[in-house]
């Protein structure tokens, strides 16, 4: 039988030789872990995406509700710009430009927040509701979908809501990175925090890249009033 030279008396818990993995190995583990997590989340979003195609159809084929195209385009652009600033922050930290990273992260945060606001106020019609109630003004061409509007409402709020939850968690991550970056936690060589946050943020953007056509562009538009 093969044998390992062992020290039977020496199992005390205070020996520390294997405590932390070497940085390079830990980084590989972190990257693999993050990507596996994102791949796992793919199934969440594909589930919603599939539900959209499963439910949004009638006898003639795939349909979609008539939505305000300007609002959709604005939201999409704002998120894309935020992604640009995020990758800019990452390039900056790689080249040791702390100030630039900081500013870019702030821009990302602002753009991300704008996206969130546009979802809540424009897509979900909260702004319409406020304007209508307070001033009797209607700003958008199409009435926003309400949650109770059959499969339209369910899928629309399900998809945008689940995506918005991820945007919110991304924003929280950016705040954490900003605060820790301010304390000088990230260097040219070691900035896993920034990388993770950036990858996550872009991922949220990729999700929207698919959700945008699914919600706004694909299928025959159906005008309806409940």
């Amino acid at each position: 039988m093969s044998a390992v030279t062992t020290h039977h008396d020496d199992h005390a818990h205070d020996d520390t030789h294997a405590h932390e993995l070497p940085y390079g190995q830990q980084l590989r583990a972190n990257r693999l872990g993050l990507w596996l997590f994102l791949f796992s989340e793919v199934f969440l979003f594909v589930g919603l995406f599939a539900a959209r195609f499963y439910l949004w159809r009638d006898a003639s084929g795939v349909v979609r509700p008539e939505l305000d195209q300007v609002a959709g385009l604005i939201a999409t652009s704002v998120l894309l710009i935020s992604s640009y600033f995020m990758v800019r922050a990452e390039v900056a930290v790689q080249h040791g430009e702390q100030k630039k990273m900081h500013n870019s992260l702030i821009m990302t945060f602002v753009m991300g927040s704008l996206f969130l606001l546009s979802v809540i106020f424009i897509e979900w019609g909260v702004l319409d509701l406020i304007l209508d109630n307070m001033f009797g003004v209607t700003l958008f061409a199409h009435e926003a979908i309400k949650p109770g509007d059959g499969a339209f409402g369910a899928v629309f709020y399900g998809m945008t809501g689940m995506h918005a939850l991820h945007v919110i968690s991304g924003l929280v991550l950016i705040l954490i990175i900003l605060a820790n970056g301010h304390k000088g936690a990230f260097t040219e060589e070691r900035h896993w925090g920034v990388e993770a946050c950036a990858v996550y943020w872009h991922y949220v953007d990729v999700v929207w890249i698919f959700f945008y056509p699914a919600l706004y562009l694909i299928g025959t538009a159906v005008t309806y009033h409940t």
Binding site: L27, R31, S83, V199, D205, V206
Partner: protein
Amino acid sequence: MQDNKRAAYALIRNVFLVLFVVSLAELAVAIYLESTVLLLLLASAKAVLVVYYFMHIYRLWRQEAH
């Protein structure tokens, strides 16, 4: 080093511009062609660009010598 840096910034800016143009193209496709397949293809193209140039997926199979 300096050139390297400038190239990096230029690259992401260009990718961003391409993404922006494709997004506009999507809207045009939706209005004039109404092709589901083409829209999904365009979305996939955008996703590939983001995953490669913004998320740097290639780092997964690269050994970092930090």
